[in-house]
Symmetry: C2
Subunit: 452 residues, 2 copies
């Protein structure tokens, strides 16, 4: 019996896209535009209501895709059989067969804090190449940016306590689990339970034990003993299978060093206080308390404010699905066309969904240690502030070394430190100032008059 | 430069899991329990507040995983270097090297409607094999079931109109986009924009055109002409780049058959009515109207109630992230241990997170054409009603032919038809009756007394 595979493969990267990317490409090809270049920008028009900033992530996977995407013979055969392509010029499929990305990519480094209308990534390439990338790029960068942004909120809420990604099982597919581990590490988590993320990317892996382990042995104390015998320096014992404080008392019966206990249900604040007392009274000052169970940044902040004796938070579902904002609504919009050496700005006027023309640069201005104001201008403007977008791919080849994951994480930490104080609150009605440059606005007005 | 890969591969299936699954496994191994069998059940303790039923999906990918999972030498080398495993018996890693799934799997067929506390899948296997599967199984089945359930609500809301999955770009990674296409097809969508889902699984693929296409040509009419020339029978023209009704008038200037137009912004109901008038006045009765743009089942139902002249809905973000319920909160719980031929029921008492012991069967009772009541009993009970859980894997081998995707979709359709009327509403306070059998409750009481 043939089962459908678990993962898309490198052979299918080209068709891992929306059908209209390919039908539009056929038209570009047949109407002689395959040689025209275009620039697309990836950004969000509006932050989710519960976000006042984003933390960029996903560039590394995006660049891997961009430098490997192509169309295998099998996938081209499939396309040729689709009724919609029945009249399409066979030369288009030959073109797909030769397809390799040959354009340029600019992006902000992973870990960069971003706001509304600020491009996270720009693709300048022959129009078909730039168009086909849309679906895959958004689904990779939108997701990782969403998770990194959520992790940053958890980081702010947890103060100096550890936050561990425990969310793999609730991520939207196994691939999302791995990418969530990566993105949450950049955004501020200390590690993950996902072993594959540790193997592939060197992210520190953490784990305690499951209820099933305690249930398997039937006797709680025996299960603790067995685990502690095997991992004398690494045993975080899960104490809530039957009764949390009774569980702590049983953990105290184990001889030798106790790495810690995990609380996973009930009133975590009250239980943490009583657990700390029990541990301290019994000379287990070294034992740490890990808390988990439907945690999010609101609950974590409430524990921080109460000065709860919790050393580490395991956060699952709410982190990896970003429950209060399960998308950043990133869009990928055409902003200019380069035809015959001529750069033509492009815009869109749709109600509530308009776009501003031209390839852009973000200029970030500081006041002392803090971000003060961003200006989004044309890429070649000489504006005040640090330009955030850098070139990573030139004519299809990677030209800039990607920072290590640890470096991206450290960069994100510095970025969060530089946020104005009001943006470090989980809830704020204040908005960070982002303005378009006079030059961009003038170009847009001109185009609008042209189309009015 | 080495870039991190896009997709987990078959070589890494074993470590695509949480660390604690492997530490617990080491303890089972070292304490001589590797030969003991255990049964785990996958279910939800509580439906999301905005769901009154689930539609099961993801079994095919789960079975693929179960019959392929193992540990490569490279991944074992990584594990051996982790500090937590520094004292672990090397024989455990030899065991991982030989690891293949050798147990049994029961599950409800994909498309089955399910409720709280009803097992969607059961694994009975040597304890380590059953334990290691947890993370991957949940992340596959939780996600697909979530999307299939959301799609079923869209199906109910759309009446006889088409619903197409347009969500790939907002899915949580490209893999989620493909699996969302699959799950939404089972749940009631007519097709998807995801070409890879069409290629891999034969799901009908649909597409229109993007704003970037209109912007590229600058002139809207020219962009329509070019597209129509290339796809004379398949051109759904996107009319809202500048002004929707002006866009429709331009679409009418195209000679020949017009497949349809897409409205993507503004007041969709009002625009659909005016668009239909324009199309009909200009003898384009055959032209269809596709609506898209932040749609969910509430908006679709409002269009159905208003008898909007919309022929197809393209639904994106809200479908693939299931925004109002971005998880089904599936859990995977130990319910019995089989040691030395002895079946020992297991339960958990944690506050608000208790579990009921024993491997179960769901018995569904009908009244006429409709589901009336489910009884969840022990698997070997002789209760009234249709037993829903079937055996798919026996001693590691698939023994039951999986229905085709189209058959699963048809089965889901029949299941939805059989729902009591009150469950077909998007909002209801009534709850479908699910009861535990007397036998199960008696066993649980006995265990509780034992542990009290």
């Amino acid at each position: 019996m043939k089962l459908n595979p678990l993962f898309p493969t490198i052979e299918t990267l080209g068709i891992n896209t929306d059908l209209y990317e390919l039908t539009m490409s056929a038209v570009y090809f047949q109407s002689g535009h395959a040689g025209d270049w275009a620039t697309f920008e990836l950004f969000t028009r509006k932050l989710p209501p519960t976000r006042s900033f984003l933390v960029a992530a996903g560039l590394e996977q995006a660049l891997h895709y961009i430098t490997h995407v192509g169309f295998s013979s099998d996938t081209i055969s499939y396309l040729r059989k689709l009724p919609v392509f029945s009249r399409t010029d066979p030369a288009f499929f030959d073109y797909l067969h030769r397809f390799r990305f040959s354009g340029d990519v600019h992006a902000v480094p992973e870990g960069t804090v971003l706001f509304e209308n600020e491009p996270i990534l720009q693709v300048s390439a022959p129009i078909i190449e730039a168009q086909v990338l849309e679906t895959f790029l958004i689904s990779t960068i939108n997701f990782q940016t969403m998770v990194a942004s959520k992790a940053a909120r958890l980081r702010l809420a947890a103060h100096d306590k550890q936050v561990i990604d425990f969310g793999s099982r609730r991520a939207h597919t196994p691939q999302a689990g791995v990418q969530a581990a990566r993105a949450s590490f950049i955004g501020g988590c200390n590690g993950t339970s996902n072993v594959l993320a540790g193997y592939e990317m060197g992210i520190p892996v953490y784990g305690t034990m499951a209820h099933s382990f305690v249930q398997f042995f039937g006797d709680e104390l025996e299960s603790f003993r067995r685990f502690h015998d095997a991992f004398p320096d690494h045993s975080i014992l899960l104490v809530d299978t039957y009764d949390s404080l009774q569980g702590v008392r049983k953990a105290l019966q184990i001889g030798g060093k106790l790495a810690g206990v995990r609380l996973d249900s009930g009133d975590l604040l009250e239980l943490a206080v009583k657990t700390r007392e029990l541990l301290d009274q019994n000379h287990r000052k070294e034992a740490r308390i890990v808390a988990s169970g439907n945690l999010d940044e609101e609950r974590v902040l409430s524990f921080s404010i109460a000065d709860a004796p919790i050393d580490a938070y395991g956060v699952g579902t709410d982190l990896v699905v970003s429950r209060d904002a399960p998308t950043c609504d990133l869009v990928y919009k055409l902003v200019e066309v380069i035809s015959g050496g001529n750069i033509q700005p492009r815009f869109k006027a749709s109600e509530g969904k308009g776009t501003v023309p031209c390839r852009k640069q973000i200029f970030r201005q500081r006041e002392g240690d803090f971000f003060k104001r961003d200006v989004v201008g044309r890429w070649d403007e000489d504006a005040n502030g640090e330009p955030l977008l850098k070139k990573w791919v030139q004519r299809g080849r990677i030209i800039r070394e990607l920072p290590s994951l640890v470096a991206s994480k450290e960069y994100a930490r510095q970025q969060l430190e530089s946020l104005p104080g009001f943006l470090k609150l989980l809830h704020t009605t204040e908005v960070y100032p982002v303005e378009y440059s006079q030059k961009l606005l003038a170009i847009q007005r001109e185009l609008e008059e042209q189309y009015a």
